[in-house]
């Protein structure tokens, strides 16, 4: 059993400590994946004696996945790797001291005088039972102040979960040792700031990488690499989230890649502090073309009692020709517009998935106050036991001073039977899929428009 080498006390003369334990780290590189996963590589200079020795690794992530630890150093083999998570606390200390001898110091409440005795801990169940010489006592049974001084702390009781490796080295000496492991508690996403100029049909976009560290550990002066992609993780939920890609691009971005994932290295080494959110710029585009459209989707052949707002959709491209000209890592796009006084105001946000260069994107930024659609089932008739005729009326209104075009979409046509057809309509639709049709409806300034359609369905 190893005991703490107590070599005097390092006190306040030393510089203020950092807020979390980064002590012991060497040359750290961190590769951060999107979904709460990072690979840490830490090259430390270790003085390894010849033969068997145990090395502790303080300063590893508090959320280390111990089973993923890899260790390598020259002329050294690993005998075993331990991850101790039995944490030191007063009660643990007392439990582990059962059978051992401790020092108790009684303080006389009237005089403050101290009396020292050695005592053997017999039990620590509910209360602490001590044997002092030939007497048996319960600790502080009299309620008087009593200090208990333990000679040692069992070596497997740690302040924090600690990684230790038992090594067998063929020679003694200091050499670089590489420690690598996966950890949760760190992740990143992109955040985009888009300033949209509606009149000019352009927008300025800045892209920021946002990385978060909740591992409990600060990584000092780390070389940082971000991987835009989500490797499959056992037990992780890999459900596809909404990508808002209207047409996926086929251009290759001018960035380093790892397999199918683009890499975003940070230009300089940086300190990733615990409980920190850090943002670094990776994209700055001015004057990219962008336009606003209106969209309303009626989810099924049903009615609304009140008119519903059409969605305001911002359309732009990630192409190098007339777009942002880069692959876009997944994140949130926040859209701003200048108000009358020229101050940018927030008008809505939406998420994007990992987007290849050359893609067409359509982001719903919000609902239009002035452009509304009311869908009504005006008639429903049964033609035969399994044939129905549903007449829909869509009333569109526009309270804006300019004409608008609304993409009116009727979804829910493919309800087990995909032979739904339109037998009559007031304007030409186009069928997007077996489930959905779309009309491009021009609505005049401060005006109304009505679209009617008759659907023949099997439901």
């Amino acid at each position: 059993m190893r005991v703490f080498a107590f070599t005097g006390l390092l006190l306040a003369t030393v510089a203020s400590p950092a807020i979390s334990q980064s002590a012991g780290q060497g040359d750290v590189s961190v590769t951060i994946y999107n979904d709460n996963l990072a690979l840490v590589q830490d090259v430390r200079q270790l003085n390894i004696p010849a033969g068997r020795s145990v090395q502790d690794f303080p300063g590893v992530s508090g959320q280390i996945r111990a089973e993923t630890v890899g260790f390598s150093a020259a002329n050294t083999g690993i005998i075993e790797q331990n991850f101790d998570y039995d944490l030191l606390s007063p009660s643990k200390l007392m439990e582990k001291a059962v059978g051992d001898t401790v020092t108790i110091v009684r303080v006389n409440p009237a005089t403050g005088a101290e009396t020292r005795e050695r005592a053997k801990v017999l039990a620590a169940n509910g209360g602490v039972v001590l044997q002092i010489g030939s007497r048996i006592e319960v600790l502080r049974d009299d309620g008087l102040p009593t200090r208990v001084i333990f000679d040692k702390v069992p070596s497997n009781l740690r302040a924090r979960p600690t990684l230790s490796v038992t090594l067998n080295s063929s020679r003694a000496g200091t050499r670089p040792a590489q420690l690598s492991y996966l950890t949760s508690g760190m992740g990143w996403k992109a955040d985009y700031v888009a300033l949209f100029d509606e009149k000019a049909g352009k927008m300025d976009v800045q892209g920021w990488v946002t990385l978060t560290n909740n591992t409990g550990t600060t990584f000092d002066n780390a070389k940082t690499l971000l991987v835009a992609g989500t490797p499959n993780i056992n037990g992780g939920s890999n459900y596809p989230s909404r990508s808002n890609i209207r047409s996926a691009g086929i251009e290759t971005a001018d960035r380093e890649s790892l397999g199918d994932f683009y890499l975003y290295p940070l230009a300089a080494r940086t300190t990733i502090a615990n409980a920190q959110t850090k943002q670094v710029s990776f994209l700055d585009v001015t004057g990219a073309p962008a336009q606003k459209t209106y969209e309303y989707a009626n989810p099924w052949l049903g009615s609304q009692n009140e008119p519903q707002s059409a969605a305001t959709v911002l359309e732009f491209s990630s192409s190098s020709d007339g777009g942002l000209g880069d692959a876009l890592p997944a994140g949130t796009v926040r859209v701003y517009m200048k108000d009358v006084s020229g101050q940018p105001q927030f008008i809505g946000e939406n998420g994007i998935g990992h987007t290849p260069m050359g893609s067409e994107l359509g982001l719903k930024t919000g609902e239009a106050f002035d452009v509304k659609v009311k869908a009504t089932v005006s008639e429903r008739r049964r033609l035969s036991p399994n044939k129905w005729r549903t007449s829909m009326t869509y009333e569109l209104s526009n309270a804006r001073p300019g004409a608008v075009t609304v993409s009116l979409i009727q979804n829910g046509l493919d309800f087990y039977w995909d032979d739904t057809r339109i037998v009559d309509e007031s304007m030409k639709s186009s069928r997007r899929s077996s489930d959905s049709v779309i009309w491009k409806v021009p609505v005049p300034a401060n005006g109304r428009e009505t679209v009617t359609a008759v659907f023949e369905t099997r439901f």
Binding site: S91, D141, V153, Q279, V280, P307, Q345, E379, L383
Partner: protein, 516 residues
């Protein structure tokens, strides 16, 4: 505040920390909680909306690598939304440190380091100090190592405490946003910082005073905004935005390093008291404890927190278009205090023509006992009705003056209504205007049943009532002969009838299974 920090080994550029303590001017734009329906009031204890806060800060920047720290930002800041402009040489990175100064953060920071234990004798009042090293973090009790051995703190019954030599670097009283920039030449700059922050909300409040004729009303509206943040915004340009901007989840998992130390000792049972005691000291107050924050009632609002320029003339928020949203600007800077609700007038319109109707929905094939009908106020948002301006979502309280006393008629809600739209607000239920449905006949012809129903509207009030009944007919049913002609509304058969005071009206109709 300016202080050089020792250059680290990698860079030979001087590093400076510059702290900006407060903004020189600030603008707050409040957005409504996107998940709150029009008829839900604001929950002042948990405001689900948000705000865009734009601050101007004047800073003096020395040459070199500068860490510019912004203090006094809203506590609900969504850090990834922060935008910083106006730095002369751009910025390298933005950081938001959520590690807060607290007893547990101090202990965690000093894990493995030297502190002083001070014991005060209860008998003599004398203090003694011991040097010690901290051996545990704040999660489960304190063990320290002294020259004598290992001891647990706060288990002895002595008066003892830890004295720390200094505040660890990186701990601050509040979450702090900072940016790193490399400044070429020392300069003074005005930096614009803008960010979204949660914990705000707003809505419109309409007060309708119904005239004696029952056909027109005086419509007064408030912009009511609330700040649930711990930060007050002094002399702030204040705006609100109506409409529904889309919002994503912010996934703010704030594992903020703060809070109490969990103090557990070894088993403390004695012969007379066997139960194990836990010393959970210094437990902080729950932050969700109810705060006494009464909502000013609309009736009282004129005395409460309204924004008045001078006695008599009320300040009115000015509306402008912001893309597809509507922005309301309070014309002069106001102080938007922490944990407070504020109201500014939006508009006042006199003699707004409206119609009071009694709508009802019945199912064609169901009988119903006499039930009260809803009372609804309906008006078109048009200029010829003295309106014709965007109406943001909110609640409406209707009053009527009866014999000199202003009485509450009812309360309802309104969704965002554009110019030209029709607004329908259900304000109460009438016990006097009622309907009932009776089945009067059943016929079985050719295996096809036809049932006759009679709908009766009774009006016990002293005024005539306009009643509108929508009849829901199932897909496999159809309405047969009716005693009055029906129109259609929202795709349903619809009967609109005027019932004079103290009279009743009936409609009889047949319900048949449709042929197929």
């Amino acid at each position: 505040m300016l202080g050089p920090v020792p250059a680290n080994a990698q860079s030979d550029v001087a590093r400076h920390v510059v702290t900006s303590e407060a903004p020189s001017s600030v603008s707050v734009t409040v957005y409504r909680n996107p998940d709150r329906a029009a008829d839900d009031g604001m929950n002042l204890n948990y405001l689900g909306g948000y705000a865009l806060i734009t601050e101007q800060r004047t800073v003096t920047l020395p040459a070199g690598e500068v860490d510019l720290r912004f203090e006094g930002v809203a506590g609900g800041i969504i850090p990834q939304s922060a935008i910083v402009t106006g730095l002369p040489d751009g910025l390298i990175e933005k950081n938001r440190d959520a590690a807060l100064l607290s007893p547990s953060a101090l202990l965690n920071a000093y894990l493995g380091r030297g502190v002083t234990i001070r014991r005060t004798s209860a008998a003599t009042g004398k203090t003694r100090e011991y040097e010690a090293q901290v051996r545990t973090d704040a999660s489960g009790g304190i063990v320290v190592q002294t020259e004598e051995g290992f001891e647990a703190l706060q288990c002895t019954g002595l008066n003892e405490m830890i004295v720390y030599p200094s505040i660890p670097e990186g701990l601050s009283a509040k979450p702090t946003l900072s940016v790193k920039s490399r400044v070429a030449k020392a300069t003074s700059a005005t930096v614009t910082l803008s960010y979204l922050a949660s914990g705000f909300d707003w809505q419109a409040n309409y007060v309708a005073d119904i005239a004696d004729d029952g056909r027109t009303m005086n419509l007064f509206s408030w912009v009511t905004l609330a700040n649930g943040d711990e930060t007050s915004f002094v002399d702030a340009q204040t705006q609100t935005v109506a409409g529904r901007p889309n919002r994503e989840d912010d996934d703010l998992d704030d594992a903020i390093a703060g809070g109490a130390i969990s103090l557990r000792c070894w088993p403390q049972g004695t012969t007379s008291d066997v139960a194990v005691q836990l010393f959970d000291r210094a437990r902080s107050e729950s932050r969700y404890m109810d705060k006494a924050m009464p909502v000013p009632m609309m009736v009282m609002a004129k005395q409460s927190d309204e924004i008045v320029m001078d006695a008599g003339s009320m300040m009115t928020a000015v509306q402008e278009d912001l893309g597809d949203l509507k922005l309301y600007r309070i014309p002069i800077p106001v102080t938007f205090a922490s944990q407070s609700q504020k109201q500014a007038a939006m508009f006042e319109k006199e003699a707004v023509a409206f119609e009071q109707v009694y709508p009802g929905n019945i199912r064609a094939d169901r009988a119903a006992e006499s039930r009260p009908l809803e009372t609804m106020v309906r008006f078109k948002n048009e200029e010829r009705n003295q309106l014709g301006l965007p109406l943001p979502a909110g609640n409406l309280v209707a009053f009527k003056t009866v014999q000199g006393a202003r009485l509450l008629v009812g309360e309802g809600s309104i969704d965002d209504k554009a110019i030209g739209e029709e607004a329908e607000i259900t304000i109460s239920e009438s016990p006097l205007v009622r309907y009932e449905v009776e089945q009067v006949d059943i016929e079985d012809r050719n295996n096809r049943s036809s049932r006759r129903f009679r709908l009766k509207i009774t009006n016990a009030s002293d005024q005539s009532a306009t009643v509108e009944i929508s009849i829901a007919v199932d897909d496999d049913q159809k309405l047969g002969k009716t005693s009055s002609r029906l129109s259609r509304k929202n795709g349903m058969p619809f009967w609109r009838v005027n019932v004079p005071a103290g009279r009743e009206q009936t409609l009889s109709y047949a319900v048949q299974r449709s042929e197929n």
